[in-house]
Assembly symmetry: C2
Homo-oligomer: 419 residues x 2
């Protein structure tokens, strides 16, 4: 056993013990703790921003790029946003303790299927301190203890946030150990978390493709994969070109760093010569680099040649791969082969083609004539999300509170035995 | 890549291709294939029983124990049972294509959450040929292709069954490759299946603790764990002794080889001297061996001393571990520590104690005053099951057709983009 395994087992045992009290606490107590956390976060702006300034200075010194520093940065405005998010989560319905189905067996037993917390949920994420609070709040609301392992660049900020959250728990009569930050931010601690089968009931990685791959390779605990989105927009033969231009421009450029941004464009050969120049002209407004196949390069100037690797790449940048396809079958096949099963879109006026695309594309969210950027817990009406699941087991698409509970069967009898 | 990896990849590609046709087929086509399979199974009794006789002869020669040979054996009666089960599955509602929720976004987009097949489901199981047909039928009904890897002792029988099932698919206009039996029954092929991430959307192991452990250690594909049941009955201080005796006798002896059988008895110290001799007397009718702690041995004669290992052992036999506990907290703690989160029971007359046990025991099915033997898809009204899940992700308890589909979000727009 390595020393992080020892440490993590100890943290796991503390979290598991704390969760028992949390599971017994009613919704009112949990909501009070969330509101208290919002209040203490607002009161702790100086301490949190001071810790954050140290993280940012260290990150700048280490040569971390500005996009990442922007994610790392917290100011009073962002802390206010986090506090409001806590209050919104408090206002959502409690996902635990719901009776989903129930019946009386012919022998008189009452059988109910009820929702129940998982127990201890681990979250591994990168240098985004807001995730510390969001994940803690969603776990707390759903009756789960949280073990949080954030990126090393945010450790001082996360430590300040953890301290605030734990104080809110204690002041609300709940054990502080309902929220535990893993202070060891070595690679080893995250691998060890993936094997913490004795204590972790669920692990949610939030981050880039490298983290997700590492989790799929190493995890022995149950996982909800989130985050990677190699999303396509397919412009079918019958597409309205203005609609196509607007959707691609929005899907690619409204926020290129997020997982629901479009990364790859497929265009039906029959419309390519009309559509592609119009799309290119619009994308030029944001200097989007197009990596195109040979036919693309023949139609527009300024594109770079795409390699096989481009079809599978999530750029998260002002870059887009582009391929001309012969028909919708080819488009669907390409998407099912190279996509990450996140969000996929067809632009078409053809009814049958739209329905076929919806049925046959294997992804969490499939769109007809709308931007892939809509795949989001807030947009879908869940109020809060811990990530976008690209797996098929348990949760697919935005993961909100309803996905953070499991179920159990509860059977009340009067001495019934089975024949 | 090993040769089984090669083989399995090839099988996976065939299954994935076949599944695309299956996903497009309507319920009527799938049901027709199931009814055809039932018909062909009935017509194939001589061929199947001949193959089965060879398996049984080989198993006897290899010294396989009779209990296992009983599970391996098929006769006309058992084949009729399998055929009827196919017909029952045909009559159940199609779990795919259901709209679970839906709403219209303020911007006019129609957002629906619909159920969809996983794709290709792998099942690894032991020498029970009925599982070949049950698993194939449940996968087919839910729109999933099935890759079946059964125990080596049943390979001739399974091959005959596969041939029949594939013929039924073809005669119904579906690709035969919707059901594929892995003919290589080496340990390696099952490990390679656990890593077949390119093709398997879900893996369901059905079997003993060794198989389940191997899957948890090795699987990179998503898994629904089934089957291990170290189930407890706790006799509380206020228990009615006759009720306790009946429940324990039923839970232990009505079918000791199954996962919902009771394996461990906990008795409150305050009632132990009254209850334990009565329980022992009833269990003596079936010569149940009791492995007891010191206090148990002091109360009854004929028990053997329990070791630490006994508390975690699923005997699947006429054997029961027994421990005296001080209170319900100790019982709950013991169950949560040693149980496999399958089925757990309290016998009590105390209302508050019953509710606390239901809330705090972490298991798929928790009972008050009823036998653990009821945890079963048929009993719970699901019509058919592929196993009892002891995990918390996606499916918990009996896994029926509703758990063999995933969901996807389908969004129909008119050019909407995100601000």
């Amino acid at each position: 056993m390595t020393s992080t395994e020892n440490t993590l087992s100890a943290l796991g045992a503390r979290a598991a013990k704390a969760q028992k009290s949390l599971a017994r606490a009613g919704s009112a107590v949990k909501d009070r703790a969330l509101l208290k956390a919002a209040e203490l976060l607002r009161n702790s702006v100086p301490a949190i921003t001071a810790a954050n300034a140290l993280d940012i200075a260290a990150a700048r010194e280490a040569g971390v790029r500005e996009a990442m520093i922007d994610r790392l940065a917290l100011d009073a405005g962002r802390i206010e946003g986090i506090a409001r998010s806590m209050e919104e989560i408090a206002a959502l319905p409690d996902p635990a303790g719901r009776v989903l189905t129930g019946n009386t067996h012919p022998n008189g037993m009452k059988i109910e299927k009820v929702t129940a917390p998982f127990g201890v949920i681990g979250v591994i994420y990168e240098a985004r301190p807001n995730v510390t609070c969001d994940a803690a709040a969603l776990c707390l609301k759903s009756g789960n203890a949280a073990i949080l392992r954030g990126g090393k660049e945010a450790i001082r900020t996360n430590t300040a946030l953890e301290e605030t959250l734990r104080r809110a728990l204690e002041e609300s009569g709940l054990p502080a150990d309902c929220v535990i930050l893993v202070k060891d931010t070595s690679r080893r601690s995250s691998v060890d978390m993936m094997g913490l089968t004795d204590y972790l009931d669920l692990l949610i990685p939030r981050g880039g493709a490298g983290l997700i791959k590492s989790v799929v390779e190493n995890a022995k605990v149950p996982v909800i994969e989130t985050g990677t989105g190699n999303c396509h927009v397919y412009v079918a033969q019958s597409a309205d070109i203005d609609t196509a231009v607007n959707i691609i421009y929005n899907a690619k450029t409204s926020r290129p760093s997020v997982c629901n941004a479009c990364e790859s464009l497929l265009i039906n050969r029959a419309i390519a010569e009309d559509a592609l120049p119009a799309i290119k002209a619009k994308l030029d407004e944001k200097n989007v680099v197009i990596a195109g196949d040979k036919e693309t390069l023949a139609i527009i100037d300024g594109a770079v040649p795409a390699t096989e690797e481009d079809w599978g790449t999530e750029y998260l940048d002002y870059k887009l791969s582009c391929k001309i396809v012969g028909d919708t079958d080819e488009a669907i096949e390409h998407i099912n082969r190279y996509g990450t099963k996140h969000s996929e879109c067809i632009v078409t006026k053809d009814y049958a083609e739209a329905e076929r695309f919806l049925n046959e594309v294997d992804a969490a969210a499939v769109y007809v004539n709308a931007s892939t950027r809509f795949t989001d817990g807030g947009v879908f009406g869940f109020g809060a999300e811990i990530g976008i699941s690209t797996q098929k087991l348990h949760a697919r698409g935005p993961v909100g509170l309803p996905e953070l509970v499991t179920t159990k069967y509860v059977i009340r009898g009067e001495g019934q035995v089975r024949n």
